[in-house]
Amino acid sequence: MAAHKRAKIRVPNSLKGLHGDEVDFDNTWVTIEAAFREIHTKNASRLSYEELYRHAYRIVLKKKGEQLYKNVHDFEKGWLSREVRGDLQQLLSPNLLANAQSVASTTANERRVSGEKFLKGLKQAWGDHQVCMSMLADVLMYMDRVYCQDHRRPSIYTTAMLLFRDEILRSPLSVTDDRMILGLLNHVILEQIQMERDGDVIDKHLIKSCVHMLDGLHADDLESEDQRLYHVSFEKEYLDTSREFYEAESELMLRESDAGAYCKRAKKRIHEEEDRCRATLMESTTSKIREVVEAELIQGRIRELVEMDSGVHFMIDNDRLEELNLIYDLNARVDEKKTEVTRSIQKRIMEMGTEVNNEALAASQAPPSAQAPATDGGDKSKQTQEKNVNQQTVAAIKWVEDVLSLKDKFDKIWRRSFESDSLLDTAMFNSFRDFINSSAFPRSSENISLFIDENMKKGIKGKTEMEIDQVLDKAITLIKYVQDKDLFERYYKKHLCRRLIMNKSVSNEVEKQMIEKMKQELGPSFTSKLDAMFKDMSISADLTSGFKKHVEGLGDRDPKRIDLSISVLTKMTWPMESINGSGEGQESNRPKCNFPTAVEKVKRGFEQYYAEKHSGRELTWLPNMGTADIKAVFPKVPQKDGSFKERRHELNVSTYAMVILLLFNDLPADECLTFEEIQAQTNIPKNDLVRNLQSLAVAPRTRVLLKEPMSKEVKPTDKFYFNEGFKGNFVKIKVGVVSSGNKVESDQQRKETEKKNDDERNFVIEAAVVRIMKQRKELPHQQLVLETIGQLASQFKPEVTMIKKRIESLIEREYLERIEGAAVDSYRYLA
């Protein structure tokens, strides 16, 4: 090495003076060209890579890259246009050419065979071209890397691909026919696809490779992504022909098949097209063709489909869950909101709901017809009315059950067919709400409350916790539908009140559970009064025991002492109107019942006790709500075994009945009291008196009194005797009072209830208006109304006229004033 240290280093001689060496290039090119020919004729194995590469390398190093590039380009162009194009044109059979113009008379099979032949030829040519060009690119690697990069030329491979596009695909079919091969290719592929749609088997692989070729080539020279020949030339045609095909097909299918079959077919078609994109065409087309198929098969047809005789209506009625699912799926494909299905579902719910409503109305109004027992022959009309009320209650409960089963049905459809779609959930909810709150059917609140009442009293007996929970949940679902929550609250309170005071509930736990559920669903403000009722009950229990201790503490051991169990009810929380007895007018003019002295004494004792604990509270006694246990001794009568025995019974009666019975204590046997006498002595309201006497003197099992004349009806002139010969099978006997249960209201009652409700609504509305105005000080009318409605939405849906009236009234009372001269009606709050 040291020997060369001093020597100059220089560039190899052969590289010197490279500039301007012409002859060399031509000779070298001859060699290279000859080799390229060999490559194209598949004789490459004899060629030396090293040698060819070296030639190309030298040319590029001598700055002849451009010339080389151009020569290669021209060579390829010549080769393609002479050799390859000629070969391809050989493959074009006359019937293939004829097809391109019109549907010829040739058979499908002939067409397929000639089409396949053409595709195969093209595929072969393309494959050969690719292989040869990658070999050329290998040889020309140095040119690609150095010349093409420096001069920003596309690589030779890319260029050659473009040449294939120009010289083959865009070349005319023949000298006389100037249609392009590309057009024919598209046509042949489309024809093959059509054959497949018609059920033929085609060579998917072959088509796929042709499609790959189209995808690999670009319409422009920049190779931009959106200019692929596949997209530019083929895809559009494919989509167009598909559109035509499916338009026709949907027409045909609508005519020939029912909705279910149509849906199945449509879905199958969509899957087919998706599969086709995967197996035969490009994946990128999937979404586009799907759009086309959906547009043709669904978009334009969904309405017709839904409304067909075999459409949604039919499917719902016949529980065609699968078909419903299909139609839902189709609708969802084209319409995010699924408008058509939603519409028809809503319509159907409304129809079925109205049907349930009407049935309930009819049932409650229907004449009692045959059921009315004509046995006792008493006053028929009264009896009938009584029966009628019962029947209405049954109808109310049936209504609730019908609604629930309707809900179940649609829930099932929603879950199984509509994939628990949330939009549909809302739509269905709205429909249910609409028919439940329909103005033609004003009883839903009452019915639902009755349903709960029924369950609380009887329904849940012997049920497991789970089952009870289910019942409660059902009730809650229904409550959620109710718009006028205040009305429901009113009924519920009334019914709950009876259950509590009369101890009718099966389980206090379940009652509380129910309240808890309502609290969760409707908010604590809704249940606050109900809670208060429960609280009153527990305070009362304390009071009772407290009073008992108090009495014991007095040391007054009176064997005749009466045990008092008392419920002190807060007037504001409890529905007084229902407690006071219906239809008897206001509490103020209600006559005070005269209690027997013993009872009166206890009563005063309690009043005293209570006043000590809570000063300033007034107690009002409600004897119509109370009950009493009394021990009754009946004279000795002969028994079956012949012995004489006093019979003792414990009678559980209403407070009124107790008062009545005690009258007979002082009466000598065989004497009687007339109705008027009883009324005069007790001062019990007539209505209550009648009812109590009925249960004491008419009901066969509890006939402690005898009435003269013996009839069902109680008349003012009737006489009553103590029934000495009363026979009871049990020691304890419960004397029920007729018609004290929770029954459906009569029309008149309901009107009253509604009126009361409206009165209360007035207050609520005014309160809301004042609340809003206090905060905002000034507000336009429209906005005030909107906000008021918004605030009250959870309780009820106020009518606008009602709000207007309340605002007027507030202005009159100078809570608000109109702002003079404001552009829109506005109010100001007056502090």
Partner: protein, 636 residues
């Protein structure tokens, strides 16, 4: 960028020292007090590229430290020698963040350019210089195309395709075994050893970083133990005594890296030894005319599967006829690449009578694949890729010496060669697409070719003509252009700038400037000539260095301060008249002097004032460049 706190670095340093003293860790920067290393440090300090390159090639440890705890890299970056730093880094000098010496080096960097250069070589980012070789060999285990494996090892549930030469190089056991029966085609693994164990051993042999954790993943203890026993057995049988130890995992990052580096170096040395003993020793020298008669069996003792041929250069240019080389049968073949003019010149003409000779090297396709040229060739359907009864002979367009350099690089990653073959290696590497070797050649040219002068030109401040030239700088620049190595153009510009007086008036210079201008135009319309721009830049560099060294700039700024000037004058030994002259000259007269065409004759007039002379020379040279461009009708 997060920087470590001082105490954190100190703590790291303390633990490092502990690890070093306990022998666990090798010191990154061992103390070196030899004279050679001192000279090396001195060269780094001065910025003497040539000496640096020569000493690196001689094997000095670039990561050692001197008595004052300086490493060459710290010295070079402290003194601001960009090219030297690049050279050091390319030769494996370490500068890693979060180490004491690394941070010190960064902290000392003269300017941001150097700092960024250092950061770009941060070890965390770069990898072991042997990694490309290792990665290639590892990839051979799984590479499907082209098929290069010549031995099949069959385990009961798996088959491995391996290369005899790799096994022979890496395992003495295989070396012996295969030597005894070179044409074994299959080998069956004893049933007792799990195939996974063999897989691990093979990966290890193929330079792969074996992760036992990955291998053992999802296996139960018994299977694990079985595999480990298998590995142990294989290790003993194949006489790879380090196998077991080397695949045991280490958690420490630095220790792991150090182990890996050692393993790679060891593996490379094995491969290199084998390469020397087998490939190079088996090269055949034949008369070019008879080269086609050379027949190598497929089953040969060194498992070669291809022959590479390079022809000796003809001494006589007239007789360099294609017909003389029967390797090229086609008459249209252009004249063979006549490389190494310098070699031919240095030879005695008496040898020209001898018939032309060729040298044929047996080689392994598996290794040649590292060049894109060969990998394309061997996967193509051309003749070279086909199986023939006798080994194919592939001619390479270079001298045997260059071919040997290239083979050495491909087999061992070693690239130490002399300036005299550098240009040829550059071209051949470019032709064969061996990028790393190309860069290496360029590096060697641009460092060793720098002449005897240091970059500072301290001995030759005024660009006096070198006593001799080592290289033809024009050809170097052209080679840089031809092979697209930017570095060579820059080197050329620098080289010329520092000797511009000698080149500026020659027609060759005008020619190359024009060529450079043409290059630019061929790409796009811009108005600068790249070469001239570069020369101007280095020219300013050359003179500014002088000015800064003497503090002239400062003095000129302080003109008003008479005392200071007088002092300076006195110190410099300049007379009063000269001061006037100098000041006038610097401000106005320079232009006048150009106008009257005053050139070097001025030397005499301002004798004794080197600064003035430098400034003048600078201006004169710039003016000359402008003149030249004008003549050539080029805007700049």
């Amino acid at each position: 960028m997060d920087t470590k706190k001082k105490f954190e670095i100190e703590r790291a340093l303390a633990t490092e020292n502990q690890a070093i003293s306990s022998g666990k860790l090798k010191e990154d920067n061992p103390l070196d007090t030899t004279e050679t290393f001192r000279q090396f440090c001195e060269a780094c300090r001065r910025g003497d590229l040539k000496v640096c390159q020569e000493m690196i090639q001689a094997g000095v440890n670039v990561n050692a430290r001197d008595r004052h705890d300086y490493t060459p890299l710290i010295l070079a970056s402290l003194c601001g020698h960009y090219e030297v730093i690049q050279l050091l880094l390319e030769n494996g000098a370490l500068c890693e963040r979060d180490t004491f010496q690394g941070e010190r080096c960064l902290y000392n960097a003269l300017n941001d350019r150097i700092r960024n250069l250092l950061l770009s070589y941060d070890y965390a980012k770069s990898s072991n210089p042997l990694q490309p070789l290792a990665a290639h060999i590892t990839s051979l285990l799984t590479r499907p195309e082209p098929q290069t494996a010549d031995l099949t090892i069959e385990a009961y549930d798996q088959t491995f395709h391996v290369h005899k030469f790799v096994l022979a190089a890496r395992s003495p056991y295989f070396a012996k075994k295969l030597c005894a029966a070179p044409n074994t085609a299959t080998w069956t693994l004893p049933q007792s050893i799990p195939s996974v164990s063999l897989g691990v051993a093979l990966q290890y042999l193929y330079f792969s970083e074996v992760s036992m954790r990955r291998v053992m993943h999802g296996l139960n203890d018994e299977e694990e133990a079985q595999i480990l026993r298998g590995i142990d057995k294989i290790g003993r049988q194949l006489e790879m005594d380090r196998l077991f130890e080397d695949i045991t995992e280490v958690s420490d990052r630095r220790l792991l890296r150090q182990k890996r580096a050692e393993e790679l170096a060891r593996g490379r040395n094995q491969l290199e030894a084998w390469f020397q003993d087998n490939v190079l020793r088996n090269k055949v020298e034949v008369e070019t005319a008879k080269v086609d008669n050379l027949k190598w069996d497929r089953d040969n003792s060194i498992y070669a599967d291809i022959l590479l041929r390079a022809d000796e250069v003809e001494e006589d240019y007239e007789s360099d006829d294609i017909n003389a080389s029967p390797g090229h049968s086609e008459s249209s073949t252009p004249p063979a690449h006549n490389i190494l003019g310098l070699l031919s010149k240095s030879r005695s003409p008496s040898r020209s009578r001898q018939p032309r000779r060729s040298i044929v090297y047996p080689a392994h396709k598996a290794m040649l694949l590292r060049s894109e040229y060969f990998s394309t060739m061997l996967t193509s359907p051309f003749r070279e890729a086909q199986q023939t009864p006798y080994l194919q002979i592939v001619t390479l367009d270079c001298s045997p010496k260059v071919l040997e350099t290239i083979l050495t690089f491909l087999y061992t990653e070693r690239s130490d060669f002399d300036l005299d073959v550098a240009i040829d290696v550059l071209f051949t590497a470019d032709q064969l697409f061996i990028e790393k070797l190309k860069q290496r050649a360029a590096l060697i040219i641009s460092t060793l070719g720098n002449g005897n002068s240091s970059t500072v030109e301290s001995e030759n401040p005024r660009g006096e003509t070198d006593t001799e030239e080592v290289i033809d700088i024009y050809e170097v620049i052209r080679a840089g252009w031809d092979t697209r190595v930017q570095r060579l153009e820059e080197f050329g510009a620098r080289y010329i700038a520092y000797r511009l007086e000698r080149y500026i008036d020659t027609p060759e210079f005008a020619e190359i400037v024009q060529e450079s201008a043409r290059r630019v135009k061929a790409r796009q319309e811009t108005d600068t000539v790249e070469l001239v721009d570069d020369i101007r830049y280095y020219l300013s560099d050359r003179f500014r260095l002088r000015f800064e060294d003497s503090g002239l700039d400062e003095m000129m700024e302080q003109r008003g301060d008479a005392d200071a000037i007088a002092e300076a004058m006195e110190a410099l030994g300049v007379k009063d008249e000269d001061e006037e002259k100098k000041s006038g000259l610097l401000e106005t007269e320079i232009e006048e002097q150009f106008a009257v065409g005053a050139i070097r004759t001025l030397d005499g007039e301002v004798a004794g004032d080197e600064f003035a002379q430098d400034a003048m020379n600078y201006q004169i040279l710039l003016a000359k460049i402008d003149q030249l461009l004008e003549n050539l009708d080029l805007d700049a």
